[in-house]
Amino acid sequence: MVPTNYYLILSAILFGLGVLAFVFKRNVITIFMAIELMLNAVNLAFVAFSRALGKSDGEVFVLFVIIVAAAEAAVGLGIIILTARNRRSLNVERVDLLKL
């Protein structure tokens, strides 16, 4: 039986790596992946907690998170395709019209 803390620490590490990728990567798609990574870390924590507390709520939440992530991926990738078409680049630093 693996102690819950291990899972939590792991999820913390994964989340941190996700954040790292989030600020470190330049490619829009990769940044998006970083977000997915963070979501996964959170899911892990959810499942671990639901195990520890002996309730299924956590897993239900994980399902919801996954659903939302799927929807988000559909829309987000649509946006990315559009941006790439218009800006001819996937580098977020080149997509910088949103300023004064």
Binding site: M1, A12, R26, S50, R51, S56, E59, V60, E72, V75
Partner: protein
Amino acid sequence: MTASLIIFFVLAALAVLAAVSLILQRHPIHSALSLIVVMVALAGLYLLMGAEFVAAVQIIVYGGAVMVLFVFVIMLLNAGVEERTNFSKLATFGGIPLALALSGMIAAGIARSSGQLATSPAAAQGAISSTKQLSMMLFRDFVYPFELTSFLILVAILGAIVLAQREN
């Protein structure tokens, strides 16, 4: 060092390494592949925790649909190796330490707080969350959120179609 612990550490190491490679890889496809590895490893961890349904969904939806979309889009846009520009001073200098600080905080928080939660006996023998029970919760207690998610997905589909179609 029980078998489950060994499996845990193997999978955990796999996940962490894959996550690191996600960061280090310069080609989106490789990042995507690393992410898939992370997800599969996580699915393995779920199985280890006895949450087989979540594990399966994790692979089916994340591995089989979401990431395929990513790969598909990468191929479609024929994305090349990413260029490491450094226009954002804030990100260049502040980004990595801040991210580390954040994860450190979370880890510290967990380390300090997780003394409170003791593994419940129900969890010990993994009696909870047979898939049936999960579905019960999903369709009884969480039925309205569930229906809402279906609506959300519908909206997402519409949004994706509207976004992706070329104006003609």
